[in-house]
């Protein structure tokens, strides 16, 4: 999946991935896609829920080599 920006949250645990995601999305233009790289298992549920609550679109997740890639489209 192609992304306009990448946010590296590898090694970070709750709540840092969500705080960084919120900050990054705030700075992006509407319709742009953010790729978040993370290793915290909690992010698998946290990120879709945050997207649902804030109205941003959760496009999906891919996992490879122990790193999860989350794709979020700014509303």
């Amino acid at each position: 999946m192609n992304a306009d920006e990448t946010l590296d949250c590898k090694g970070l645990s709750c709540p840092m991935p969500i705080l960084k995601l919120a900050k990054a999305i705030k700075a992006m233009e509407s319709g742009k896609v953010l790729e978040l790289l993370g290793t915290d298992p909690g992010s698998k549920t946290d990120i879709p829920k945050w997207c649902e609550k804030t109205g941003n679109e959760f496009l999906g997740m891919e996992e490879e080599e122990g790193v999860a890639k989350y794709y979020i489209k700014k509303a």
């Binding site: 090694g11 645990s13 705080l19 290793t39 915290d40 609550k53 122990g66």
Partner: protein, 403 residues
């Protein structure tokens, strides 16, 4: 037929390990296990684990004259803590979520500092999010209410700090990180296999090692399940206090409320009936379990310090334990900070601190002494209902939420 059998087993496996459990399910199960711990000897607590671990570290180093420290494997909380870590490890392995996650250096420092603050808060305020609150509220302790207010204040302050840090010192949470032993593709099958071997060993081991001491055996077995359930449901008291100020989501607060309601029911039965107190003065001793002399200011101050620490560390006393089990190195530093600071605080800070505070600020308040059992339960139910109304209103309006 073979396919349907495979399908059924796969569904069973998938229910427990394929996805994260709803957090409220974790809350209900953990509260039930807590009632079991109370029936065995004493309600669940988090900070005594670190106190014991720290005392043993200093004993090993020959520091602070702690030669009399009880060995970890012979101490109910020291052992329960280890089994909680291992139980979480089992949960992570069976669900292929285990990995050694080494964060940037700044995050490890935050883990250490958060752990030190939690040690100070829990010793100065007497109690952490588990012993003082998740057991304290069901124990009908008045001090537990002020401890909770302190956690909320601390969580709010620490969250403001984290938001400031992201703007002014972003390097603290960025930099090189390493992930080792993660389950990758089909090769990751080693994790569930190791998980099954580990759980078999851990269920048999404690009963063999402590055959003569059933209290220790049960603490070990229940500790294993506590860690497992915490990891699978990602049950997090820190989150319950932090989230209303962060995303506003209500999942964690509702899970904690569910745990409190089950706990209140079970603890009240035990205390009201004086179960386990069939000796002179026994009923009163049972009634006062997990009711600490910290009402109200002592609990409020200690809770605030603890609340700051738990949000900076990313997990409270038990949140630290189960995240240690799934391989989060930041929380290993939190556990280290907690363990190293707690014995020092007890030996050098708490004695002076308890003398400075007036007696009205550190009373043992057992709510039924003032309101009767039913009045005490009703009071707590009203408080939980108000918390519920606030959390749901805030979730809808986002009035107090930062992101």
């Amino acid at each position: 037929m073979s396919d349907s059998k495979n399908g059924a087993w796969y569904q069973l496996w998938s229910t427990f390990f394929g996805r994260t459990w709803p957090m409220w399910v974790g809350g209900l199960v953990l509260a039930t296990l807590n009632i079991c711990l109370f029936l065995v000897k004493y309600p669940w607590g988090g900070s005594p684990t670190y106190i014991n671990w720290g005392q043993n570290i200093y004993k090993l180093l020959g520091l602070f004259d702690l030669k009399s420290a009880v060995p970890v494997t012979m101490h109910q909380w020291g052992l329960l803590g280890i089994l909680t870590v291992l139980g979480a490890g089992v949960g992570a392995l069976l669900s292929r979520e285990f990995a050694i996650r080494i964060p940037p250096v700044g995050e490890m420092a935050k883990g250490l500092i958060g752990g030190v603050l939690m040690a100070l808060g829990s010793t100065m305020g007497i109690g952490c999010t588990i012993g003082g609150f998740l057991s304290g509220i069901p124990a009908l302790s008045g001090g537990a209410i002020f401890l909770a207010i302190g956690f909320a204040i601390g969580a709010f302050l620490a969250l403001r700090y984290l938001l400031w840090e992201m703007e002014k010192a972003p390097k603290l949470s960025s930099g090189k990180s390493v992930t080792l032993l993660a389950a990758k593709g089909k090769g990751g099958i080693w994790q569930p296999i190791l998980g099954v071997i580990l759980v078999a060993f851990l269920l048999i081991g404690p009963s063999v090692l402590h055959r003569g001491d059933m209290v220790l055996t049960w603490f070990a077995i229940i500790g294993l399940f506590l860690g497992f359930v915490c990891q699978r449901s990602r049950f997090c008291v820190t989150r319950a206090f932090r989230e209303p100020f962060m995303t506003g989501e209500s999942e964690a607060p509702l899970a904690v409320m569910a745990a409190l309601l089950v706990g209140i029911f079970g603890f009240t039965v035990i205390k009201y009936m004086g179960i386990g107190g069939a000796f002179p003065g026994g009923a009163r001793e049972i009634a006062l379990k997990a009711v600490y002399p910290h009402f109200w200011l002592r609990a409020l101050i200690g809770g605030t310090i603890f609340g700051i620490g738990m949000v900076i560390a990313g997990g409270c006393a038990v949140g630290t334990l189960w995240r240690m089990g799934e391989g989060q190195i930041k929380l290993w530093f939190s556990g280290l900070g907690f363990s190293l600071m707690a014995p020092i605080s007890i030996k050098y800070i708490v004695p002076g601190w308890s003398k400075i505070l007036p007696s009205w600020a550190q009373k043992q308040c057992f709510l039924p002494d003032y309101f009767g059992y039913w009045g005490a339960v009703l009071l707590l139910l009203v408080i939980i209902t108000l918390w519920f109304v606030f959390v749901k209103w805030n979730e809808r309006t986002g009035k107090f939420s930062a992101v």
